[in-house]
């Protein structure tokens, strides 16, 4: 059957793309209407911006500003050196003009749930900007130029993974790219940032897609969008008709609405029919995928010359009176946005970053928006069903039916409970994309995904421990080898020395040697004793 499908896909791949049936998936209630009612709003400039520049134990950061420095809008504040060679730097720019007040750890609205190093910027309200250098005709730029400009603008994957876009583009140079897929599926409930962006600025997104297509030298560009977004589809069709790019145009594929069809591998399978093997990168199969937001950021970076200082973020949830989509400056805090949406503080129970299925709760409303914050939900107390009492797994298999990776969540749960690493790996725990579809359908209300996350962490820790212990073992073996070699050398030196002199001279030489040995040993022990005395004296002094 799959062979047939593949044959069909090969047959059609020259001219048409079509959506294929994907494995598993769910159709949760979308809850998107509220935030879709508004247009994209731009926020006023907040007085204080907290611009995240990297996780505490993340990559090295080069700061380009000092505390107390006055900076203009678009000024580079820091560079995150993701790899040691300096090829994948991600610069961070000032979203507005103002003074750097401090650099400290604070909470960021992203999935890491860890504090990040942030630059605190007190805005002066003047919004004085540096001169931008727009490139009105991107088709005159070479591939490397585009990649350079995108890197310089600090564009990273806006979908959530946050992988530097320039890196992804330069990776494309390693293999011939057949498909560039622009991911507009946005299948997770609550999130509407991409949909509103497409609805209002489809032209720019299509231009951005063209730029990405040129930069990755892709043969075809496909924009994949769910069939539940008719307005965005209309806007895209309009934009595709108007487009006047030099390259061959983009194509639009409408895929059936199903969560998690927006997941990279699932979407690739849906659109191209190619199943990416585990552990392989899509570029190996000639496919690269970018998010709609990334395409827009690429457009801004090239055509407007503007660095990535803002992103589109959905604010929704029952605790907000008017849910909206904002074009929000990086570093704006969540409470500032909540105020703009009319928050009922008493009603708010928790704040979630991301959608309702893959999002994570963040503790403080002071959390800053970073480049990957696509949605913030201010959930009211009765918005999400309080976790009900867990019941026993009845092995109904609903979870296996909806799993997009064709795993067996019920078995994984059982093996997680017994911490059976071999079975967990054999059952493909590491292929779990943590989409939460199994949790969603589980009639026993079991916390499947969080169990898997813990198991993954445990396995990863164990793997690292083993790696470390292997390393230590190597070191120990080398140490033993070294000690033995030194001993052998000492023995051979001793063996060689008496062979040289004459028989008569031998005792004298030995005596001399012994004496010298003795003297040096005595001297050493005296030295040590003296040093010990000194340290003791100093320590006593200190203690007094």
């Amino acid at each position: 059957m799959s062979a047939l499908r593949q044959l069909a896909s090969r047959f059609f791949s020259s001219d048409t793309v079509f959506a294929r049936r994907t494995v598993g998936g769910i159709q949760p209630l979308p809850f998107k209407e509220d935030s879709l009612r508004s247009r994209i709003m731009s926020t006023p400039i907040p007085q204080q911006l907290t611009i995240p520049i990297g996780a505490a134990d993340g990559p090295e950061i080069t700061l380009l500003v000092d505390i107390g420095e006055q900076v203009s809008k678009y000024k580079k504040l820091a560079v995150i050196n993701i790899s040691a060679e300096g090829v994948s730097d991600v610069p961070v720019h000032a979203p507005t003009s103002g003074v750097i007040t401090s650099i400290e750890n604070s909470i960021v609205a992203d999935h890491s749930q860890q504090q990040q190093l942030c630059i605190n910027l007190a805005a002066d309200g003047h919004d004085e900007a540096l001169q931008l250098e727009p490139q009105s005709n991107y088709s005159l730029l070479s591939r490397t130029d585009i990649v350079f400009l995108i890197r310089d603008a600090g564009v990273i994957g806006m979908g959530g993974a946050g992988f530097p876009t320039a890196d992804k583009l330069s990776k494309c140079a390693e293999s011939a790219i057949e498909f560039l897929i622009i991911n507009a599926a946005e299948c997770e409930p609550y999130i509407t940032a991409d949909e509103t962006l497409l609805r209002e600025r489809a032209n720019k997104v299509v231009l951005g897609a063209q730029i990405l297509k040129r930069a990755s030298a892709a043969r075809r560009c496909i924009i994949a969008i769910e069939d539940t977004k008719p307005d965005a589809i209309d806007a895209l069709n309009q934009a595709l008709q108007n487009e006047t790019g030099l390259d061959q145009g983009c194509e639009l594929v409408v895929i059936p609405s199903k969560y998690p069809s927006g997941s990279e591998r699932q979407l690739i399978q849906c659109v191209t029919g190619i199943e990416i093997a585990t552990g392989h990168h899509p570029t190996e199969n000639g496919i690269v995928m970018h998010n709609v937001g990334t395409a827009y950021a690429a457009y801004e970076a090239i055509v407007e010359g503007k660095p990535c200082i803002s992103r589109f973020t959905t604010l929704c949830g029952q605790a907000l009176k008017t849910p909206k989509n904002f074009e929000v400056l990086i570093g704006t805090t969540a409470d500032f946005l909540f105020e703009l949406c009319g928050i009922e503080t008493s009603n708010k129970q928790k704040s979630i970053v991301g959608g309702s299925l893959m999002g994570s709760e963040f503790g403080s409303d002071k959390a800053a928006i970073c480049k990957t914050t696509n949605c913030i939900i201010a959930a009211s107390a009765n918005e999400f069903q309080a976790p009900q009492a867990e019941q026993a797994c009845i092995r109904c298999g609903f979870c296996a039916d909806v799993c997009p990776s064709k795993l067996l969540p019920q078995q994984l749960l059982a093996f997680s409970k017994t911490a059976d690493t071999t079975q967990l790996l054999g059952h493909g725990l590491l292929d779990c994309i943590e989409c939460g579809a199994c949790d969603y359908v589980c009639p026993s209300q079991l916390p499947l995904v969080s169990t898997y996350k813990e198991s993954k962490k445990r396995i990863e820790n164990r793997r690292q421990d083993l790696e470390l212990s292997d390393y230590w073992q190597q070191r120990f073996q080398f140490h033993q080898y070294r000690v033995k070699k030194e001993k052998d050398q000492a023995v051979s030196r001793k063996a060689v020395v008496p062979a040289k002199p004459t028989l008569a001279a031998e005792p004298a030489v030995k005596e001399q040697n012994d004496e010298a040995d003795f003297i040096s040993k005595e001297q050493a022990s005296l030295d040590i004793a003296a040093a010990v005395a000194r340290v003791k004296a100093r320590r006593d002094e200190k203690n007094k």
Binding site: Q6, A173, A217, L357, I394, G397, L408, D431, G436, E454
Partner: protein, 387 residues
Amino acid sequence: MSDLMAGAPFQHSGRNIAQLMQTLLYALLPGIFASLWFFGFGILINIAIAITFAVLAEAAMLRLRNRVSRTHLSDRSALVTALLFAIAIPPGSPWWLVALGIVFAIVIAKHLYGGLGKNPFNPAMCGYAMLLLAFPLEMTGWHIPFEVINGPLTVDNLGIPALTAERELLSPLSWGGFKQALLLAFPFAASGAIDISEFVDGLAMATPLIEFKMAGKSALLAARESGVSLFARESETAWEIINISYLLGGLFLLYKRIISWHIPLAIISTVFVLAALFYAPGHVAIYGTPYLHLFGSATMIGAFFIATDPVSAATTRPGKLVYGIIIGVSIYSIRVWGSYLDSIAFAVLFGNFCAPILDQYCRPRIFGHGLRSKTDRARPNEAPVKS
């Protein structure tokens, strides 16, 4: 760290075990009504006794195991076990038989293994199999209410009453039928004047398959040949209708996606194929028609309601197919070559034995696994393009 992780998906479908069990109960209704129509109130009395004892046993066990009785009782799993057990027991069985079976099912087959979700064997079928081994006589007769009109009954050499004009069937739903069923279930309530032993011993009807096996002829075919209308209240056609009702209930479950099609389809097709292969009219060996095998006994209940019990069945899709085939082969072989008349219980229990190993070895291919060669083929030409 873990408390931050908790509750990654916040949204839930709202489905819960109680709902599933409720749907299952609804799906059993057509079959129960059909049984009621043909066998009278005996089936309802069975159900009432079974439910009473099941709930009592469940509550007692939950109490002993220090579980919150209210939440666990409300999952309705005990109800489902009781109902499945009650429809498998012949109507007109004495109360102690039903009670013993269901208490065995709930206490030993379910809770001693760790309660809901942990039992390796289908509790209802465990109870049934226990009764079948311990009380074979009581378990093989299906009582149909009747009234003796004249003279003693003639019984053939196998102890089966002859279908003569000397008795007249009572309407099972009549007052007389109800009284008879009550007396059968609670023999102690009978006054000395009425000798119930008469209709207990002699007048139970076996299922057509049993009758067929013993008498060596197809009662169903006979009934059809003699032109009995489909809805006549004769035991021979009764099973047909009852099986069709359960089939409808099963289709409803499939429609509601409570069960998947794998197990029922595998069982039914296996039984059908085996019966078709072995059926040889005029041959000395007695095998029975495929139709008789599918609709002459409890095949449909077994395929849609009993074998699909998720806890004890295989849970992977390929595993489910193999599980269904194993059960189908067991059903057929126990019926045809085995010494037990009713094969569903043993076949399902045998399937349950195999389920864990099926789960381990019959697994679907994980997305992105095992396609090294495919990827190579799908990979376009390797030469990097220089811009």
